[in-house]
Amino acid sequence: MAKLSLKNIVGRNKGFYEIISGLLDNLSTASWIEDENGNCLMGEPQIGDTCQCPIMLEETIAGWVKGSDKAQSVADLLSMLLQRESAKKKLGNEVLSLYQEINIIFNFTEALTQTIDPDIIASLTLKQAMHSIQSNSGIILLWDEEHQTLTTPAVTGEDLFNQDGLRQHLPLLMEIGLSGQSEIISDIALLKEKGIIQDSVQSLVYAAMKVKHRIMGAVILAGTAPDQFSAGQLKLLVTLALQSSAAIESALLYEKNIREVREREEAILRIHEVTKKFVPNEFIRSLGKDNITDIKLGDQVEKIVTVLFTDIRDFTSLSEKMTPDENFRFVSSFNAQLGPIIRSNNGFINQYLGDSIMAIFPDNPADAIKAAISMQKAVFELNRNRKFEGLPEIRAGIGMHTGPLIMGITGDEQRMDAATIADTVNTAARIESLTKYYRSPLLLSRETINHTIEKHDFNLRSLGNVRLKGKNKLLNIIECFDGLAAHEFALRKETLASFNEAMEHYHDRRFEKAIPLFEKILAINPGDLTGKHFLENAMTYLQEGVPDNWTGAEEMVIK
């Protein structure tokens, strides 16, 4: 606060100057005004003994009116003016310091809105506190009630706080600092004794950081001079601490929300990872959806696809020799081998049905045939190991059919399932079961071959027509023997022409011509059980004859 000088009072206002000057002129003796240092401010100083009247400001002499013995009234007037001006200045100063505080808080609040990082908010708070309140060191303590942990997100100034000491004396801290109070600490000896603050600290002030009634922490300032902090400064610190508390609280909440959202997203992602193993992505995509959550009851799509069924032959007798656990593990390892083959050939597993698998190949039937061949080879490899371990061989049958299929979501609102509804599925399953009848490991329908552009890439034998039980339509069954072991493949290839010739005779009821051909084939390849099947048929028909309406188609009496 600038010193209030008589010069400024007198000189400041022209009106004042004129009135006082007039009063001086009216005094009988020439009079003048001097300041407390003897500088003349108004009138002409005279030499010699003169009267002098003091101009008082509170208890001190601010100047003199000299000359006339009647000057006392002028001095009194000036005293009063000075007094008034002083009071006005004091008030002005108080207003200014309040205004400065408002300005600090205004700027601080504005700065707080710029960030959502709790550490940055803490640093800003401490910086502002240190800037507004003369201090040597500052620290912010944050107390996490839930985890019972103390953090110090901001520390500035001289090294006056011992952070390890703070953590070691939590109970003391709960009384001083984290008490929820705000105060200027008068007795700091104990804190020094415990090694929480350095010996050079003489003054300590802290303000609680709290939201509602929950104590979040404190802003602590230290000074190396005694009685460094005033009550006004404590009040400012409290204001800053409270502003900061609210900001840190929302920042922490924001962080928590972000963390929770991220965790929730990860959980959803994990659920998706798992669900897509139950309902294949291809299934969902074929319904025109991106995600399983987009799917609703009744969604469906119709498409020409190839459905493949595979089944472990004689699984029942095989499983009888195993415990349920062994059984399960056996099926699991079998499925685990075939799954990747299906996927790598652009197919997907629609369903596991115990020891059998239903797979769908939505694009090219050649994918399904290639997958089937690879699966046969995989079973062949598996058997090599099993043989080595003295275990019985596994035989698997694979059948497939190509046709329209409705893929959709069925069930009710509580329980939905991916379902494939079509005769194509039934037919494919039936063809698979025909592998037992014909004793051939891999059978396709004519429809599959008709839809296969690369049909010449495969080695095929036509096995004639079949009428499935309960069906009117005849089904032309084709065997693919590319998946057989090398020597078996070679023998089948060698006898292919004879087989085709034999089948032609067979269908034209020339059993007497068909029989020697089948016998010739079996002589070369005794393992051709399909050939053997037709030979047996032909021999029966030759002996017993066939009905007039016989077409060569085999009537399936069982499903």
Partner: protein, 127 residues
């Protein structure tokens, strides 16, 4: 001739605050003048030719912008350093202030230190 600062604001407490902020300059012989409206501010500027004018923008009768425009553009008083004062956040005023020829622009609440330092600098009183 002594240096003069004119403080123009219709709010008495702002005039008082600025005066209080700048009180140290009194010892340097700086004279303070005040006005509570644009009209008397314009008259004082012409008669007293102050070195600095702290000019509030939002005032009754004649607003700060118009006063500034008259002084700088019509009266061509380039030597008068005009500091426009306005409430924070009225960003559009900044450009308008430049257009009417204000020297600088300060926002309320102002930082007293910044205000004092600016006055010292403009008056050439740095030590």
């Amino acid at each position: 001739m002594s240096k003069k600062i004119l403080i123009v604001d219709d709010e008495a407490h702002i005039r008082m605050l600025i005066e209080q902020t700048l009180e140290d300059l009194e010892d340097e012989g700086v004279e303070f003048l005040t006005a509570d409206n644009g009209q008397s501010a314009l008259e004082l500027i012409q008669s007293e030719k102050p070195n600095i004018v702290f000019l509030d923008v939002m005032m009754p009768k004649m607003n700060g912008m118009d006063v500034c425009k008259k002084v700088k553009q019509d009266l061509k008083m380039d030597d008068v350093f005009i500091i426009l004062l306005t409430a924070k956040g009225q960003e559009i005023d900044r450009q308008k202030g430049q257009e009417v020829g204000a020297n600088i622009y300060m926002t309320k609440p102002f930082d007293p230190e910044v205000l004092l330092n600016k006055a010292i600098q403009v008056l050439g009183l740095e030590k």
